[in-house]
């Protein structure tokens, strides 16, 4: 106990504005990144189901490339290496959002593919036999059912990606752990600050879990 009480927990209050700024960037990168990731995931997930070899091949290559390399390497590559190829600098925030989007998109593509494939074949046969085109059948029959099944694994991926944003401190995105490290190294209060940072992440992920379980219940009759 004495070990814990020797820390100045109340003093953390002074640094809450800095941590809140970090939280803002964490959420900003997460939300925009995951929106991009969901769009990429839907496109490439359906691409993985395509009978056209080129579309299937490109989608598979995307998934394997992004899933097969660490997020940290992707972040460093986009921020430090890509500018040398394209000839202009990429702001760290943009690079961070791009990496979260591209990375989560690869995993979400597999979630989308699995969910669509899990809808019974009879459903698409019923749609097609009524004269609905493949596109209309996907849109009104398969996708709504698949989407419901995507929610639990999507929740998983959202939480993983939110935590992955902490790696973006390496490319100077001013997110939560970046701000925490700044404070802790200036004020020698690592225990208090990093504990608070951990609690911040936990609050975000627990809130998200709760929201997703409400959404899941709403979609179930």
């Amino acid at each position: 106990m004495s070990r814990l009480t020797q820390f100045n927990w109340l003093g953390v209050v002074d640094y809450l504005p800095a941590l809140a700024l970090g939280l803002y960037y964490t959420l900003l990168v997460s939300v925009i990144g995951l929106i991009i990731g969901f769009v990429l995931g839907a496109v490439f997930g359906l691409g993985r189901l395509s009978h056209k070899k080129i579309i299937y091949g490109l989608s598979t290559a995307y998934v394997e490339l992004l899933r097969g390399t660490p997020v940290l390497v992707q972040a460093i590559w986009v921020y430090f290496a890509l500018p040398l190829i394209v000839g202009f600098n990429i702001p760290s925030l943009v690079a961070g959002i791009l990496v979260i989007g591209l990375n989560s998109g690869a995993y979400i593509a597999e979630i989308v593919r699995g969910a669509v494939q899990s809808v019974e074949k009879g459903q698409s046969e019923a749609g097609r036999s009524l004269g609905l085109s493949q596109h209309l059948t996907m849109r009104y029959v398969i996708w709504p059912q698949a989407f419901k099944r995507m929610i639990p694994p999507l929740g998983n991926q959202f939480i993983i990606s939110i935590k992955d944003t902490s790696l973006l401190s390496v490319i100077l995105v001013p997110e939560l752990i970046f701000q925490g490290r700044l404070v802790a190294s200036n004020h020698f209060n690592a225990v208090e600050i990093y504990t608070t940072v951990a609690v911040f992440y936990l609050v975000v992920t627990l809130t998200l879990s709760k929201v997703l379980s409400v959404v899941e219940k709403r979609l179930t009759h």
Partner: protein, 241 residues
Amino acid sequence: MIIHVSDLHKSFGDNEVLKGIDCDVEAKEVVCVIGPSGSGKSTFLRCLNMLEDITSGDVVIDGQSLTARETDINAVRTEIGMVFQQFNLFPHMSVIDNISLAPRKVRGLSDAAVRDRALKLLDKVGLREKADSYPNQLSGGQQQRVAIARALAMEPKMLLFDEPTSALDPELVGEVLAVMKQLALEGMTMVVVTHEMGFASEVGDRVLFMDDGIIVEEGTPDRIFKNPQSARTEEFLNKVL
């Protein structure tokens, strides 16, 4: 004739399931297809609306060849309603939305017109009060009757039934057969793959007996059931009757 099938072959890989089917169905005719499981009767039915690709031969629906390059299969399918063994209702939609989806999206009918049509069809199958229920709130027999209403919603020229009562509890079979009988009386063209010999003999104009990928024999229900020509037909009927 409204359905013309000529030398239809269907293979799954090396396995030839249909080995040359020739068959015509006239408008308003009720044709029942019977035969042992694995005889190819469901595959035959599914070739009639191209749920299975045709390996060789041809199916002509109301003058349109399904294998012709210029044929719009989606348009042809609007003329052919299909009822499945497992009902295949859309579980995320209410009963009325199940029935309304295709008329709304394919025919582009107004919401009011579609709703009107759907309610009339629910009346026909005796389930108007279930319009706002979801499929999982219905019994199997009710689900299948909704599926029949859904198939009718496109005002098809013919209906295909793929063992429509095989997944039902015995006490629910009658209500589905009653709806089918009513449709037959109203002059709907129907091809019915079934194990219900009673239905085939009472409602069918013609019975096809299939075994091992071919039509072994066909004729009026009376002739097939009372005086089968082929030993295979006789053997099958002895097992099921």
